[in-house]
């Protein structure tokens, strides 16, 4: 009879097919189970490891659920005021033009309070990468309406659903910045299935690599969920996202480099 394999036998270097990237710290994520933030953090960190640019990268955390992103990336990190990450990134990148600089922002941060900073950083063509996590809601403050909240969607400040007449329209920031001459690569991704995670990771890798070309700003929206804010189970939230968010925020590249 063949000998039983022990755990130690299995955990041999030769058998390792996947391990946590060194660019993430060992700190326990504070995100709700099922939330997309953790996955998005991971793929950004993996890209930085694959590109071997840990010592040349500065990340900017926003105000929102990912305010503590600096606890998870083993990178030099700068925590910005609500909405101001693109301005903070501009200051860093202008003074450290040879470093890789990215911001990580929610929809309230990027598309409401920080609209001016976002548009102008994009329009100036700052040579940075913006990762924009659109969960259609203000997660951190307890589920209020975001600029991206869909028509009819319930939030704690639109308890009967978003009424366009009263609260205005949901904002497609990504289509908007794609119009600006300063953006080089603009794409919309998701991370709710392994296939989409792989795609999103590829997009993020390009978006960071493009900083080497010095051709302008790369902008990656990730349409994500907020099961606690949406008051759904993680599985329900992902289904709801596919059925409601994706039709309004269609996935795919919106602006690709002409010079490839």
């Amino acid at each position: 009879m063949a000998e039983q394999l022990t755990k130690e036998d299995i955990r041999k270097e030769a058998n390792i097919v996947y391990k946590k990237t060194e660019v993430l710290t060992d700190n326990v994520l504070h995100y709700c189970p099922g939330c997309g933030h953790g996955t998005i953090h991971r793929i950004i960190a993996e890209v930085i490891e694959e590109m071997d640019i840990q010592s040349e990268t500065i990340g900017i955390a926003p105000v929102g659920c990912s305010v503590l992103a600096y606890n998870y990336f083993d990178l030099d990190m700068h925590e910005a005021a609500h909405g101001r990450a693109p301005a903070v990134a501009t200051g860093i990148k202008r003074l450290l033009p040879n470093k890789y600089v990215f911001t990580y922002q929610g929809d309230g941060d990027l598309a409401a309070i920080g609209t001016a900073e976002t548009i102008h950083a994009c329009n100036r063509g700052e040579n940075i990468t913006i990762i924009f996590v659109n969960n259609g809601i203000y997660g951190m403050t307890g589920g209020q309406m975001a600029p991206t909240t869909l028509e009819g969607m319930k939030s704690s400040t639109t308890p009967y659903g978003r009424n366009i007449k009263q609260m205005g329209n949901p904002l497609k920031m990504t289509e908007l910045v794609a119009q600006l001459p300063g953006t080089y690569f603009v794409t919309r991704q998701a991370v709710h299935t392994p296939a989409y995670v792989r795609k999103a990771k590829k997009a993020i890798k390009k978006a960071i690599q493009y900083q080497e070309r010095e051709k302008g700003l790369s902008f990656v929206e990730v349409v994500s969920n907020c099961n606690s804010g949406w008051k759904m189970t993680p599985v329900q939230a992902n289904k709801w996202m596919e059925e409601n968010m994706f039709p309004f925020y269609p996935l795919g590249d919106i602006k690709v480099p002409e010079d490839k």
């Binding site: 500065i58 700068h78 910005a80 005021a81 101001r84 301005a87 990134a89 501009t90 860093i92 450290l96």
Partner: protein
């Protein structure tokens, strides 16, 4: 050190001195009466002169946050604005103070509230010296009274900012910003390289190298016990600043029986008042705070033991007078005289006020 003589506006002098102090980046947004600062810097082609970066931001909110980023990277960064723009920056200034980063902010003050006027004022004294934004923090506040001091305070401001890792405010006003005087300028100081920054400022976010832990620039600490410790550390630093960095000038104070206290433009008027009073046989002196924060508390207290009364002369509704009263602690009468809305008080009206409120009172 060899110094170069030039005839310049105050706004130009602060800009030129900042370039010479090895400033790495200027980020600003136009507003009267200080637009010459950025105009001067851009005309100087600092990218070619020293490699300094200059960028016109989309707002003062953006420019202060660009400073925040640049300061986090250990760079010498500055902005300039005037009152309404400085109000917009307050959130960012509070973050910079909370994260303990150095930077230089020039406020060429105009009259308020609101859009107010473009004429000179000192009405931002409270905003500069008491915090301005949210939370318990202090700005080191320098008050130049001449074009020469506009230049000197740029150099000094950067020095203090890095010594204490604290934002420094130059609180000037429209008169000092706009007037031309001769000014002696320091020689060009080399800008630091990234390697020098890494060595001198180990906290700077230049990229996490294997030889150190990651650097995090933040003002956030959610644990109250830790947040209290952060606040205590800040307060300790402010006490150090109060102990070490007070600057003031005393004019004709040795035998003074009465004292004027004034800074910036109003202190220039008061110099004339001292002369006029002495011509009439009134022994009047002038104390000119050069640092508004830290305030010259000891100097005021010492002179309060000597003179019979103090008049605070301000281009606002009476702000510094509160700090003088705290320092005097009720020992002698302290009164205020001022004009506001952009009006500079005349020497005759100051002398008249002294006679009515202090000498006759």
């Amino acid at each position: 050190m060899k110094r170069e003589l030039r005839l310049m506006k105050g706004n130009e002098a602060v800009a030129e001195a900042a370039i010479r102090a090895g400033c790495d980046g200027y980020f600003g947004y136009p507003i009267t009466p200080q637009s010459e600062v950025m105009e001067y810097i851009t005309a100087e082609k600092p990218e070619e002169r020293t490699g300094m970066v200059v960028l016109q931001a989309e707002s003062e909110v953006a420019s202060i946050n660009m400073l925040y980023g640049g300061a986090g990277a250990g760079k010498k960064v500055m902005t300039s604005s005037s009152s309404p723009g400085i109000s917009l920056m307050q959130e960012g200034i509070s973050y910079i103070a909370g994260a303990e980063l150095p930077c230089l902010i020039v406020n060429v003050v105009r009259g308020g509230p609101g859009l107010g006027t473009i004429q000179p004022s000192q009405a931002d004294y409270f905003q500069s010296t008491k915090g301005g934004g949210h939370g318990d923090y202090k700005l080191i506040t320098l008050a130049p009274a001449s074009v020469q001091e506009m230049a000197d305070h740029a150099t000094l401001g950067f020095k203090l900012a890095f010594k204490y890792r604290n934002p420094v405010m130059i609180q000037s006003d429209g008169a000092i910003g706009q007037m031309m005087e001769k000014v002696e300028l320091d020689e060009q100081e080399e800008r630091l390289t990234d390697d020098q920054i890494k060595e001198q400022y180990p906290w700077a976010t230049l990229g996490k190298t294997p030889d150190r832990e990651r650097n995090i620039i933040t003002s956030l600490e959610l644990d109250p016990a830790k947040q209290e410790q952060i606040n205590l550390k800040l307060q300790k630093k402010y006490r150090e600043i109060e102990k070490n960095e007070v600057l003031s000038e005393e004019i004709e104070c040795d035998d003074a029986e009465y004292l004027l206290v004034a800074f910036g433009t109003s202190s220039r008027i008061c110099q004339k008042v001292v002369k006029m009073a002495r011509d009439e046989g009134i022994k009047l002196g002038l104390l000119r705070p050069i640092t508004l924060y830290p305030f010259p508390v000891k100097e005021v207290a010492r002179l309060a033991g000597q003179v019979k009364g103090i008049l605070s002369v301000e281009m606002n509704a009476g702000q510094m007078v509160e700090d003088i009263r705290l320092a005097v602690n009720g020992k002698i009468p302290v009164e205020y005289f001022g004009r506001f809305g952009g009006i500079i008080p005349s020497s005759t009206e100051v002398l008249e006020a002294l006679k009515q409120k202090i000498i006759g009172g």
